[in-house]
């Protein structure tokens, strides 16, 4: 579904991604793990078009993504739940969800989507008329996820949903994501620093270090790998 080949990108002259290749098949849950500064967020921004690549290619559902203007990419079925949540603070929860549903499919499925989102993330229903900027970090993260789901995406990209949250809140959000995926069968691409949790729930994983994919495999292979165990899992 999403095919990234030899992608290089960076800010000004400093390269952040160096020939990264990643493959996400329909229905898969793929995790990309790695330390701070490995280029995970830049990778997502390149997929969404905020960062222009200096080399390589991205195709989504057979479409050459780099030829599609950034605001059109959401309409192809890519939902980006950004790092640090980035909800619209002066809009209400409901309005934030409506912004998620700017895509044609999001508009078409609005009723069904909103019911499912409220079922999965009931706190959004309780607070639907509250301004997003006045909510806690965990609630904002749930809103960011709900906003992504409201577009009826084919691919949900999650950039560190646990960032800056209390461990128990992060656990809860992980558990919700797994439940959403179990019920919907949605294709997910997750970037995460909580390596153990990410690898445990994903089908397939990539380890990104300093702009290179240093390791890839299904979750058993990765979790059995010595380097991963030492560097990320603390075993």
């Amino acid at each position: 579904m999403l095919r990234i080949e030899g992608l290089s990108a960076g800010y000004s002259a400093k390269p952040v991604l160096n020939g990264v290749s990643i493959n996400v098949e329909a229905g898969e849950f793929v995790a990309i793990v790695g330390p701070n500064g490995a280029g995970k967020t830049t990778l997502f921004k390149t997929i969404s078009g905020i960062v222009k690549p200096s080399g390589g290619g991205i195709s989504f559902d057979g479409v050459d993504l780099l030829a599609v203007p950034p605001p059109q990419r959401a309409h192809l079925g890519i939902a980006h739940v950004p790092e640090g949540r980035q909800v619209f603070p002066s809009l209400t929860v409901m309005e934030n969800l409506e912004m998620g549903a700017m895509t044609e499919s999001g508009r078409r499925d609005w009723q069904a989507n909103i019911e499912r989102i409220f079922e999965w993330l009931p706190v959004l229903k309780e607070r639907r008329n509250q301004f997003a900027g006045t909510m806690s970090g965990g609630q904002q993260q749930m809103l960011a996820i709900g906003r992504g789901l409201a577009s009826s995406p084919k691919l949900l990209m999650l950039d560190e949903p646990s960032m800056g949250l209390a461990p128990s809140t992060a656990d809860f959000i992980f558990e919700r994501l797994i439940e959403i995926r179990r019920q919907s069968g949605l294709t997910m691409l997750l970037v995460e620093q909580r390596v153990a949790e990410a690898l445990e729930s994903a089908d397939h994983g990539y380890v990104l270090e300093a702009g290179h994919v240093v390791l890839e495999g299904n979750n058993d292979t990765l979790r059995a790998d010595d380097r991963v165990r030492k560097a990320y899992l603390g075993m």
């Binding site: 800010y11 969404s48 078009g49 905020i50 203007p69 950034p70 605001p71 059109q72 990419r73 959401a74 309409h75 939902a79 980006h80 950004p82 640090g84 980035q86 909800v87 619209f88 603070p89 002066s90 809009l91 309005e95 409506e98 912004m99 998620g100 700017m102 895509t103 900027g133 906003r147 577009s151």
Partner: protein, 311 residues
């Protein structure tokens, strides 16, 4: 007491038009974060468009002297919106929006120079085309009044033209706030203002949202300008006088708050009229800025501004 009520009434009427004028600028600043120095000159252009629509294009003959000016003024709005749309497309979009999002200072320096340049071109171009003679959109309503009262032996006189100006302003303001709060376009403008990057992730074309806001802002201020012109004569450099008031209104209302800009403009209208009770007319504008400083001293974020940084 009678003088006070009279000044209050006059302040509310002119305040509504000032409010509308400020909202045009507030919309542009709120959505785009662009400091538009040329905004007063867009308003000047709106005044002349309304003037010529009324006198030269036949609206006077068609609608007469009473209704005609307001028809012309309302038509100047869409005309300036179209003009603003193309100014953004051809010039402003090159130094704002996604094109400069990654630059240091988000292209603000280039924006300052560009909008100042546009202001100069409009002012001097206006001088060449329209000449330096004072113009005004006169209607018989400008020199007649409605009498309210008498209440307890006191009567308040409301200038008919200014009253209609205020009503038109409030009507447009109501429509605008419905547009901003209720419609998909309005919500996407607010989303683009809140967080342009996240708005792009939602599939919102941020540059197009900016163009919409710029066109709307120009159209709204043009109408406000036309309304002012029913009572105040104007000339090609009139924009300079008003742009300062506009910025004061936007800052008072709270930078970035669209509805706040209306109340900022309203405050300025009230202060300006009330100050005539105790100060000579020449000090009207000084009074505005004395009150402005006072309010900003106690409430630096303005009436509706948020203290938090936008994310």
């Amino acid at each position: 007491m009678e003088g006070f009520l009279q000044a209050l009434a006059a302040g509310l009427l002119i305040g509504a038009v000032y409010g509308l004028m400020c909202v045009g600028l507030g919309l542009i600043f709120g959505v785009m974060r662009v400091i538009n120095f040329a905004h007063g000159d867009f308003m000047m252009l709106g005044m002349y468009v309304a003037f010529y629509l009324f006198t030269a294009v036949g609206i006077q003959a068609l609608f007469g002297n009473t209704v005609g000016p307001f028809v012309a003024i309302l038509l100047a709005g869409p005309a300036l919106a179209v003009f603003g749309y193309f100014v953004h497309l051809a010039l402003i979009s090159h130094v704002s929006g996604t094109r400069t999002a990654s630059l240091e200072g988000e292209g603000h320096y280039a924006q300052l120079i560009l909008t100042l340049g546009i202001a100069l071109i409009l002012q001097n171009g206006g001088l060449i085309i329209f000449g330096s003679v004072l113009a005004s959109i006169r209607t018989p309503l400008s020199s007649s009044a409605w009498e309210l009262g008498p209440f307890f032996d006191m009567s308040i006189f409301l200038n008919k033209a200014r009253s209609i100006d205020a009503i038109v302003s409030l009507a447009i303001m109501t429509l605008l706030s419905l547009l901003i709060t209720r419609t998909r376009i309005g919500k996407s403008l607010r989303a683009a203002a809140d967080n342009p990057t996240a708005a792009t992730y939602m599939g919102i074309d941020v540059d197009r949202a900016h163009r919409t806001a710029f066109a709307l802002g120009c159209g709204i201020t043009a109408v406000a300008g036309g309304l002012l012109a029913t009572n105040y004569p104007f000339h090609p450099f009139v924009g300079l006088e008003y742009v300062i008031v506009m910025y004061a209104g936007v800052v008072l209302g709270g930078m970035g708050s669209i509805i706040g800009a209306f109340w900022g403009g309203m405050t300025i209208g009230l202060v300006q009229q009330m100050s005539t009770l105790i100060l000579p007319t020449q000090l009207q504008n000084a009074a505005i800025f004395a009150v402005f400083l006072l309010i900003i001293f106690f409430r630096p974020q303005g009436f509706f501004g948020r203290m938090v940084e936008r994310t």
